[in-house]
């Protein structure tokens, strides 16, 4: 259970970083107009930060989740 939750959080975090960086933020490359200047989804940088946070929070979950016998 512990490993699954941790792995899911890490995968979710990295996936969110990838998607928000490459697909939701403003396109990479030269600015040619409004479409290439604005993010495709507003607050995409905030989502990227959530992704970074999720990866590191996985460490806390991994350590803090109680053992089965304790439960």
């Amino acid at each position: 259970m512990r490993n699954i939750v941790t792995a899911l959080m890490v995968i979710f975090g990295f996936a969110l970083q990838f998607v928000s960086y490459f697909y939701l933020s403003a396109p990479l490359g030269a600015i040619t107009g409004e479409a290439s200047s604005n993010p495709r989804l507003q607050f995409a940088p905030a989502l990227f930060i959530v992704g970074v946070g999720a990866v590191f929070l996985a460490a806390v979950v991994f350590e803090l989740l109680p053992d089965k016998d304790v439960q």
Binding site: F22, G29, P39, P45, I49, V52, G53, A59, F62, E63
Partner: protein
Amino acid sequence: MTTNIKKLPHGVGDFTRGWVFLSIALVALIALGIYAYSIQLTEGEIVTGLRNIGTMGGATWGLYISFLIYFIGLSFTGISIAAMIRLMGLEKIKPIARMAEALTVIALILGALVVIVDLGQPVRGLVNLFRYARPGSPFFGTFTLVIAGYLFASQVYLYLDGRKDAAILAKIPSKLQGFFRLWAAGYKDTPAEQERHQKTSFWLAIAIVPLLITAHSTLGFVFGLQVGRPGWFSSLQAPEFVALAGVSGIGFLIIIAAILRKVLNTEDILDLDLFQWLSDFLMVLIVVYLYFLVVEWLTITYSSQAHESIVANAMYTGDYAWAYWLTVAALVIPLLLLAWQFVFKRYQLSWIVLSGFLVNVAAIVKRYLIVVPSQTHGKLLPYDIGAYTPTWIEYSIILGLFALGTLLYITFIKIFPIMEVPEIVEGGE
């Protein structure tokens, strides 16, 4: 995990008279900083020495941004020390691990605050960065990786690393018992928990080191990628930032460790061997940074363009020469001191601390040199040479931030052991 300690160790919970007086003085300085900032917020940045580049003959980035780089540089130590202990098995420096981690967290908080102070419209700036920041921009990296990711990761590391000590201290009756219990979150130091913590620390160290390098490099890119600003556009900026961050961070850590050694009477834990290691490490980092300085000097003086030469001349022989040569002196003197000790194996704490202090002077002045001369003297358009002089508002805010950082640090020391609590078996003291 057994313990029969009756008193909280390392001065935790012991709010001495000296601590109270120091805190009051720091609060007064913080109040001065808040007062100065309130003036800046209501009257605008006209009360600072900051002016538009070119048209107003000034610099839009000044003391605040210089200290942003300085504070972020200080944060270098915590995670790098923690990672070295974990990945390279450097048990010798373990006693300073938590000091360094706390320094990292507090320095990053100060870094975040000084960015906010620099913004004329802080709320608008903060919202819009989260809303519109472009991933290609170094500001995106600075905000996401440095302020958010690096700070969060450091807090996670500090928290998890302190759980065992919190569990030990939670058994001792004190006013802070509930706090320690909360921090320990059920930790019992079972073999399974120990193994899990080893695993987590290892992977966190692996994950944070690249983040640390990226974070400091990104800050270098903020300057290094600006094609139109003579003096800034250089591929050396990023590695130079990393190297100078190491120099100032380790130097500052030496000062903190020496103060705590004296105040907490921990000469046996923070022994000369530890300072010897820090001294040698600092010496190597200074050599690396001086190499960058020489390469930079050779490149600029050999074949730089006219606009670059104006900035270079201002630094080497002109308006900023005093600052440049002060930086060089504040790096070379510690290097000589540390190298002498290294060669003759005669280490003296006072010389090591002096070196730590001098490299921090060098780091602050060099950051000022990175930020300011390129704006006042580095122009591609035909504007006159500009000038920048910080006002009392800027000095007060920076002083207030330093006071805030110190207050946070000394408060942390009083509520949580700044060094690992030793394993104490039943019947011990």
